[in-house]
Structure formats: C-alpha cells, structure tokens
C-alpha cells in the first residue's frame, strides 16, 4: 500500500509538474518522465519516449535476413545474443530448419554469458543509483571478463552477431572454452561478494524493501515480463515453459519471489545469475561434438577452401552472397526469455529475401506503462530505485 493510500498525507489541489530526463543519468538512456508531484508524493507519471528511435523495424524491411542480424544487436544492446537468437529462431521456424546440437549449445552458452553480463551491468548501475558505489566497480570487473570472452569468440566485445541463421558464426576455440570454464569457476564467489555488500545491508534493505511494489495481478495486466514478473510471484520463464534451443537438456531453477518490490526483483536477478552460471557449466560439460551450423549450403556459406575445387560450392557461395536466403511465405512469432523478459520477433515473409515485416517484442517497451504505474504514490526519491529495478534499455524501447 502506498503512503498516499494510507492517508498519511491528504490529497491537495496544489500539485507541481516536474520534468525528469531525457538526460537524467539514472534513467539509463534518453527516457523522459513527467511527474505530477504533491509535495514529495508522485500523483501521476507520464512517460515520454522516442528519443532514441532509429527506425530499425523500417530498415529491416529493406535488408536481407542476414543483414538484419547486426541490427538486432543494437536493440537490447546489453544482451545482444538473445536478440540474435530470437531473430534466428523465428527465421529458422519459417524455413523449417533445425540446427545441429553443438550450435544450440554454443547459442545457450552465449545467451547465458550475456544474461549474466546484462544483470551485472544492471546490478552495478542500480546500486550506483541508490548510492552503493563499490558494487559498481566489482560488477564491472566481472563484466569485463564476459566482454573479453565475447571478443574471443566473435571478434566484437558487445555487438557480437555471433548467432546466425542455421547455427553460429564459427566454432568455439579451445582457448575460449577454457576462458568460459575459468569464468564459471570463479563466478560463484564473486556473487557472494556482491551479496555480502548488499543483501543483508540494512541501508540497502531500507532503501529497497517495500518500495515500488507491484502486485501479481497488476504485473500480469501491465504485461511486465522477466524478473519483474517473477519478483511478483509469477512463475513464468520461457526457458522452462517452452524450451527452445535445447534448454530442456539443462537442470536449473527459476527463482520466484513474492513481494513484488525493488528488493525482490534484486534477489531474483542475483539468483538468476547463479542459475545461468549453472546452465553454462552443464553446457560446457556436455558440449556435443559435430558441426556448428547446418550443412545445407542454401542457408550457410560453404567452407572457404572448397571454393577453389568445387563448382557447386562456388555457385552456392555466389548465390548466398548476392541474393541471400529466400524464406517461404508465412508469419510467425517465437518468444524467448531475455535478460529483461519476453523477447521475440514477429516476422512476416512474402517469399522474398527480405522480411516483409520485422517486429520486435521488446520487454522494456511493454514494461514502461507498468513502471509508471508503480511510481504512482511513491516518493520522488524512490523514482530512481524504481526505474533501476525495472531495468529498461532505451535501445529496445524506441527501436
């Protein structure tokens, strides 16, 4: 129950309109919210978005399927592999394609590594917003390891584009697998470090417990997803509910908390990092041998050295590079569990080599009205904590 509802302060007619953003550091991007204030209490919050609109959905209609993948990186730029995966799985569903097991496992490892990376960035900046500086530095230290691993396997630190239609860009190297194993080995004690700084810290608890509460019913009605939904007591995770990319092979728990406040969303994300680490360690242990992309040369490029000896490979290479993949007509949507919630692409194909419509279901975009609902009745000082706990990324909000 909010303070205003408890009747501690009577509603007055004198309200003040306060503009926050779009350049406020704690809104994590160019997000503007217009607050209707009654003293320190927020009566209503009106979001204003669109400052980062880049027209990616429109550009997608003029680009070939393969060319769309680097653009999906730029949507949720803190967790790019899940976006790649969402796009590729949807396209593969239209193509009726099944990727080899090794490719599926490498996709899982990349998605989970970057889920941890995204949660680490969230943890650091969220704690920094509330006033805990040290966690920020610790979280950055481990995120750096993940970015180095991204660079090792794909050549790029953030916008990896590692996951491609029909598999992954290239096979993992033994060095990379060793690096991932090292990360998996040291990570549990690092999480303990963050938790030692925050979880039982009385200042942190005072600042987050009972703040920004959203009930189970409202979280569903406002289409919140991911940790925001699970923090409010809804056991909903697409990795468990509709396993894609061989997630059914792994044993892991879906953390669910019931208070729906900032603290519970924090606990859910911290536990998710532990579970993601668990998934990565199982995937490393059981990583299947075999090809890392489909061997159909109408989908994936033939090996480079065959171009000099095989006419067929040369033709396939030429056709793929000059024309791209032709996707059969149809429309479909595949939901995935990203770091922020349900990520998915709704792709309409008209049979050509470019999507007729490419729409991204962005969890942050859908969460903003719910976030503004949470703000009603809260104190102005808690706005920063609430925005941080919902974890929006403006790249995917404005697309």
């Amino acid at each position: 129950m909010s303070v205003a509802e408890k009747g501690l302060l009577e509603r007055t007619k004198d309200t003040m309109t306060l503009n926050m953003g779009p350049q406020h550091p704690s809104t994590h991007g160019v997000f503007r919210v217009i607050l209707e204030m009654d003293g320190e209490i927020i009566r209503s919050a009106e979001p204003d978005i669109g400052y980062l609109h880049t027209g990616i959905e429109k550009s997608g209609e003029t680009k070939r399927y393969v060319h769309c993948i680097p653009m999906t990186d730029r949507l949720d730029y803190l967790n790019p592999p899940t976006n790649n995966l969402a796009f590729c799985l949807t396209t593969e569903k239209l193509l009726g394609l099944d990727v080899p097991p090794r490719a599926a496992y490498l996709r899982v490892i990349m998605s989970e590594l970057n889920r941890i990376g995204s949660h680490l960035l969230w943890l650091g900046t969220h704690a920094l917003d509330i006033g805990a500086m040290t966690v920020f530095l610790y979280a950055w230290r481990e995120r750096e390891m993940i970015l180095d691993l991204n660079e090792m396997v794909s050549g790029v630190r953030m916008m990896t584009s590692y996951i491609r239609i029909g598999g992954v860009m290239r096979d993992s190297t033994p060095d990379w697998l060793k690096g991932v194993r090292e990360f998996v080995d040291i990570f549990p004690e690092k999480i303990d470090e963050y938790e030692a700084l925050l979880t039982k810290n009385p200042i942190w608890m005072d600042r987050t417990q009972g703040v920004g509460v959203i009930s189970r019913e409202q979280a569903i009605a406002y289409s919140m997803s991911g940790p925001c939904l699970r923090g409010s007591g809804v056991n909903w995770d697409f990795r468990k509910k509709r396993p894609y990319s061989r997630y059914s092979d792994f044993r892991f728990d879906v953390p669910v908390k019931y208070n729906g406040d900032v603290y519970d969303r924090y606990l859910v994300r911290v536990e998710e990092m532990r579970q993601s680490r668990e998934i990565i360690s199982q995937a490393l242990k059981n990583l299947p041998q075999g090809p890392c992309k489909v061997e159909d040369n109408k989908i994936s490029l033939p090996p480079r050295d065959t171009l000099h000896t095989s006419m067929e490979a040369l033709i396939h290479h030429f056709k793929l590079v000059s024309e791209g993949i032709h996707v059969p007509p149809g429309e479909t949507y595949v939901p995935l569990e990203g770091a922020r919630g349900e990520v998915g692409f709704y792709i309409v194909s008209d049979g050509s080599n470019k999507p007729c419509r490419m729409k991204m279901r962005a969890p942050s975009f859908m969460a903003i009205p719910g976030m503004c609902k949470i703000m009603e009745g809260a104190f102005i000082a808690d706005v920063v904590a609430i925005i941080g706990s919902v974890d929006i990324v403006m790249g995917e909000v404005d697309r």
Binding site: G50, K58, L94, S223, V234, E331, Y346, M366, P369
Partner: protein, 182 residues
Amino acid sequence: MTSEEILQRVKSHRGESILQAEVALGDAVIHVGPDALHDTVKFLKDDPELSFDYLSHITGVDYLEQERDLRFESVYEFHSIAKNHSIRVRVALPEEKPAVPTISDLWPSAVFPERELFDMFGFHIEGLANLKRLLMPEEWEGHPLRKDYDLNWEDVAFTYNIDTKRELVKEKTLSRYKPGQD
C-alpha cells in the same frame, strides 16, 4: 491445450465472429473483423478453459502490393500464464479509414502498442483517450511503417565553417531510398 483444441473451443463459442481459424506453423491463429475484436478477446480472457490473461504484443502489418482484399492488418498475441498456451488474433483492415477498437480497458498494457499502431501505421484506435504519437515527434507527417512511406534520411542540419568561424544552417534536405535499389 494444443493449438487445435484452442481453435476448437473458440470456434464452438464464438464461431459466428471468427472469419477463419488456422494452425500456422504450430501457432493457433484466428482472423476476426474489427467489429468483433473486442468481444472475441474479452471471451479469450474470461473463458476459464482458455484464460488468455497476458497480452504479449500488438503490431501492424502493411500488405501493400500483395494479393489481398484488405491492405492492413492488426495482430494481437496473447499468452495464458496459467495454461501455458498462446493465440494470435489477426484483424484485417481496409486501406481507407483503418480503425480498430481499443482493448486497453481489458489490458492496460495495450495503450503503448496501440499508440504505436496509430503512430507508425495511422490506424485509428476507437475509444483510446490519449491517442497521440508515441515514438515520432508530434508534428511529424506520415506514418513511417507504411510501405508507401519511403525510407529516407536527413542531412545534418548544422555544420561548422572553419573559415568564417561560425555555424551554418543548411537547408533541410531529404535523400530518398528507392525501393529495389540494392
């Protein structure tokens, strides 16, 4: 429930308003007219067997230059948290005056995607109080995601002249992307 069972149940209760029901690549899809949309989704939400309580997303599609009677389509995707199944509702809309009723009274989260439909496709959302542009500036002309809206870009409006040491304001120019040029 499987997609076939979902369609069976929807058809047996709301058969008169369903124009077409199909299983497309494993997904349950129903086609309804704009008039029947609100009634149908209310049934989808309230029916205890189906209980589609979660709105995943709303989007629009422009089928210009494809063999279709109606040019536009508004697409709704619902999940059921309790039953773990999904359905897609497609509403075909005419080229002149595309209008759909709002479903924001059933799902408050529908406001943003519906405003986006208005912004990007120019659909009129009947009954939505706050119908204004969401992503584009308010004075923007045209609806960018329509197929007949060219993909264009603006040159930088300002440039700095080293010789005169002052800023020059350039004429606003639009460069056009010609569809088909690759």
